[in-house]
Symmetry: C2
């Protein structure tokens, strides 16, 4: 072949090319022999096309074709021909044509792969991760990475147009005393000292605001050395954004536009705006979660006002003690067996409930252990509040507001999944706002910043910092999609007197704060503008866009739950010489521990 390089992508050939000479490059997806004919499905990034090798057309090509195996890499020169009516394959994008081979060059051979390189692969994930380069050859993985690329470029395009400037912040930086566990990097030049990999560029983006950059963004790798759950990675990607001199409402609606443009440019979905806004309190009361899934109802109903004087002692005493009685209405499931109901009771107990009461609204009247303790009026009021009717099943819980919300919130989600109430392909966004600024640590006997100590309290709550810190609401906002928090942000404190009040509430003097937060506190003294921002979990957004259920499916080379890479075998032992240069040594198990 004079040139081995492709003239056309395999997957884009159509009947328009019939009669043309083409060169294709790609991998052998399948080979089938039929007498004098050999058919090869040739696949590249764009898709697959059928190559037909006919002894009568080219003996040479047919001879080479006979040697190829799955995943061989070929250059094929040939002519696009129309398939006869009966051989058209309507399932294949290129199914109306095929390429008649005139010459085939084997660019590379391949061993038999450890699993079939196709979408429906049934193999343990650990094998897929070990041979990730083969796993990524599967069309579904390629499409996910393409979608991820498109989402990144859409983000950058949108933010650039809005005047945001992408600035790269350091990866080798300083360990911070608060927050999650840092990944450390020993310094060779500075003996006994360490860099830390950033958990987020939070401090740097605030410094960029102080330096007058006004609108910053970055799609940036962040690191947390935490015990990993199924949907966490030790390194993850964040869309990091900060702006100065921008009305928070304008900022939030700009972030809605950003997300809408990502959805439009990747999966062609139009996201309705503005997003609904729920306060933290409302979200907890109605959905028992600060990241409510709004794709289905089954909201939590507070029955405390109705039942505060009920003769059912468990309910009345809980309410009297400041707790709550709440219910969820499992629509149309009044016919469940006792066994089914008890299974959900066990789930609730596992989740932390003392018990789960229930009333089944049967045609013959309300059934269930609670039913007989409620007066007719109470039951009528409960049914009205829960919008319940005959055929429904009501689950009740009586506990503190916190436990009630947590348990019923989780139960709501699990019931919806079990009952298949969650519509596919629907995207329901919401903002959750007004998070508590501080939370009290019983053990340490002090208040902690829920987010970080630079989060702005709501103006009208500032006096409460001194009198009732737990009531202070933060100017913080989470963006929630389908039950996932996809972004979290806040307006930051920029006024010194507010910062002082904040530190006072945390039990610091300004001097102590300066000690702990060092150069950032100093920077705040040189003209910090009003500013705020947000960080989006990019991996999770891609996961939701691609309709996958696992972050590992959205990352080219992910790590396992034990933070290993099964392909490269990282982390791995290193030479002693390397450690010596870094002024560290391995700690022997016996030496200081136990």
């Amino acid at each position: 072949m004079e040139s081995i390089y492709r003239t056309h992508p395999c997957g884009e050939l159509t009947t328009a090319e019939v009669g043309q000479g083409v060169i294709l490059n790609g991998w052998v997806q399948k080979r089938r022999n039929f007498g004098d004919l050999i058919f090869i499905d040739l696949r590249d990034r764009s898709g697959t096309v059928q190559v037909v090798c006919n002894q009568a057309v080219s003996e040479e090509a047919a001879h080479v074709a006979d040697q190829v195996r799955g995943q061989y890499v070929l250059a094929v020169r040939g002519e696009v021909i129309a398939r006869s009516e009966e051989t058209i394959n309507p399932k294949m994008k290129t199914g109306r044509i095929e390429v008649q081979a005139e010459e085939i060059t084997i660019l590379n051979a391949s061993k038999t792969p450890p699993f079939a390189v196709e979408d429906e692969v049934e193999v343990d994930e650990s094998i897929r991760l070990k041979y990730r380069y083969l796993d990524l050859r599967r069309p579904m993985m390629q499409q996910t990475l393409l979608l991820r690329h498109q989402a990144m470029q859409a983000t950058r395009r949108f933010l650039s147009e809005k005047g945001f400037i992408e600035v790269e912040t350091p990866m080798l930086t300083k360990s911070t005393p608060e927050g999650a566990r840092d990944y450390l990097v020993p310094s060779r030049v500075h003996e006994g000292q360490f860099y830390a990999l950033p958990q987020s560029p939070q401090i740097f983006k605030q410094l960029l605001m102080i330096s007058g950059m006004e609108r910053y963004f970055q799609i940036v790798r962040c690191f947390r050395d935490e015990d990993l759950r199924a949907d966490r990675q030790p390194e993850f990607t964040q869309i990091d954004i900060e702006a100065s001199f921008l009305d928070p409402d304008v900022f939030q609606s700009m972030m809605e536009e950003l997300v809408a443009s990502i959805f439009r440019e990747t999966i062609a979905v139009e996201v309705p705006r503005p997003f609904p806004r729920l306060t933290y309190q409302e979200a907890m009361e109605r959905f028992g979660s600060d990241r409510p899934d709004l794709r289905f109802g089954m909201e939590l109903v507070d029955l405390s006002p109705i039942l505060k004087e009920t003769s059912f002692k468990v309910f009345a005493s809980t309410i009297a003690a400041g707790g709550a009685v709440k219910a969820i209405n499992v629509k149309g499931q009044g016919g469940w067996s006792r066994k089914e109901i008890d299974q959900w009771g066990a789930v609730a107990q596992e989740l932390g409930a003392k018990g789960l009461a229930w009333v089944a609204l049967k045609a013959e009247g309300p059934k269930g252990p609670v039913a007989k303790f409620l007066s007719e009026q109470e039951l009528a009021d409960v049914m009205e509040a829960a919008q319940a009717e005959s055929g429904d099943l009501l689950f009740f819980m009586a506990d503190t507001r916190k436990v009630t919300a947590e348990v019923l919130g989780e139960l709501r989600v699990r019931l919806a999944k079990a009952l298949d109430l969650i519509p596919e392909g629907e995207f329901r966004f919401t903002w959750v706002t007004d998070f508590p600024l501080l939370s009290y640590d019983e053990e340490e006997g002090r208040w902690y910043a829920e987010h970080h100590p630079f989060t702005n309290p709501r103006e009208e709550d500032i006096p409460l910092l001194k009198t009732d810190p737990g009531k202070v609401r933060a100017k913080a906002y989470d963006m929630v999609l389908n039950g996932f928090e996809i972004g979290g942000g806040s307006q930051r404190i920029h006024r010194r007197e507010v910062q002082e009040a904040m530190f006072e509430a945390l039990g610091f003097t300004m001097d102590e704060a300066r000690e702990q937060f060092g150069f950032l506190m100093e920077a705040f003294e040189y003209g910090a503008p009003p500013h705020g921002g947000i960080a989006f979990g990019f991996d999770r957004i891609v996961m939701l866009l691609a309709g996958r259920s696992n972050l590992r499916e959205t990352i080219a080379f992910p790590k396992t739950a034990s933070a290993s890479c099964l392909m490269t075998q990282a982390p791995a032992p290193v030479d002693d010489r390397q450690l010596q240069e870094l002024h560290i040594m391995r700690r022997k198990q016996s030496s200081t521990e136990e």
Copy 2:
């Protein structure tokens, strides 16, 4: 003020806005009192505008204005008014108008900054780095970061349009035995094991080719724990690119287009294409450098053919021994004093020359110690070869080809700088190709890969791998701009028999190679396509675009030559508890070393 948020950027107000009410946000650049009038230069990212506070217009605003100091953050409500003819400031973009203040809110105060926040700052770089957030407030730094942003987006736009997909590769990966020193990250979960931060995504981008991504790019942070020179950073940014099934010539011209589009979209310079191509050998012969600066001439002239039979023994014997006699023509400098000439002789010796001979072509005839040893014919031939004429000065060197090239190459650059021969604002690109594939390590007595062992040799040189490895040319190409290597790449080996020959030349069996390069070698056995790529030094490109002379000026938060951040004080000591969790301890100086 009802809203403090800006209606207009300061720097974009023109006479078109005269009569309009505006709100501005920004920093006080300067304040001057003139009787009842106070003038404030208010600066934001877009530029500066003059605010005038007139007692007669607003006593309140004037009162607030009187309290502000440099770098205070203000919100100013007022009216745009035209300046009278005599107060127009033609040096200021907004110099035809000013804003008459009706209300001023101090959004934040500022201490007196440690240096003036303006372009012409005369302060030690260490102070600028310590207060980087103030340094970045200077318009010149803001413009550089904006330019960096534009260069990034132009890169992504161009490559996306050409079908390249941005894929993020891991930061926590595996230490590689070859190459520069790695930054290591101890693992908490895997006792005694370490991640390494990537020196480049080389292995991952080749794996992405094996996985059929076909066109990949990434603007990516890389890490090298090397002793830092003025123009190196421990973390740096690379435009990393790889492609499969693409003719190398097409790829190189695509990369020219990429760079041209970066120059067009950032500094509106049209870069002429195609770039000239020099082989490594030609570059070394003519410019004594593999990254020649083509903005000026003064090429090295090989006089060996002319002088091989000269009676001047030093020259003749050097040539006879396989060395070279080469000269550079310092145009028009025949009148230099003996002292000036000797100074350059000293420079040459410092650079490794045994001596620097010279002939000054004076009107009265050739002068200089060498002149008398050359016959009239030899001198005439030398002058013709060096395109020399009366008034010029010729410097001669006789040594091995390698030393001659190195010394005269460096001398050429220093002479050009000293003589101010290098035109400002000119961009001269070239490719340097056909680098040697291997170099011989005298000490270890073996061949090493110049680039890495996956670099493809030129087809016609493959047989030389067995017979004369030093003659094998690589399919490698560097992109050079104004004497800087801005990008380097190669076509990779994808055929097993070539890879085997390569390893054989390096003294490995395939089994040993598999041992050393592990999973990558295994991956090559599952259908690697023909592929190649390049990596551009992004920081350096930005430096050249911005016309700066130091990489630190192009990075928001750079590190010093000792890899420290003067602002955050990274690296820094950490808690013992943190080290304990990571199964490491500090090595005591006394313990094992000396």
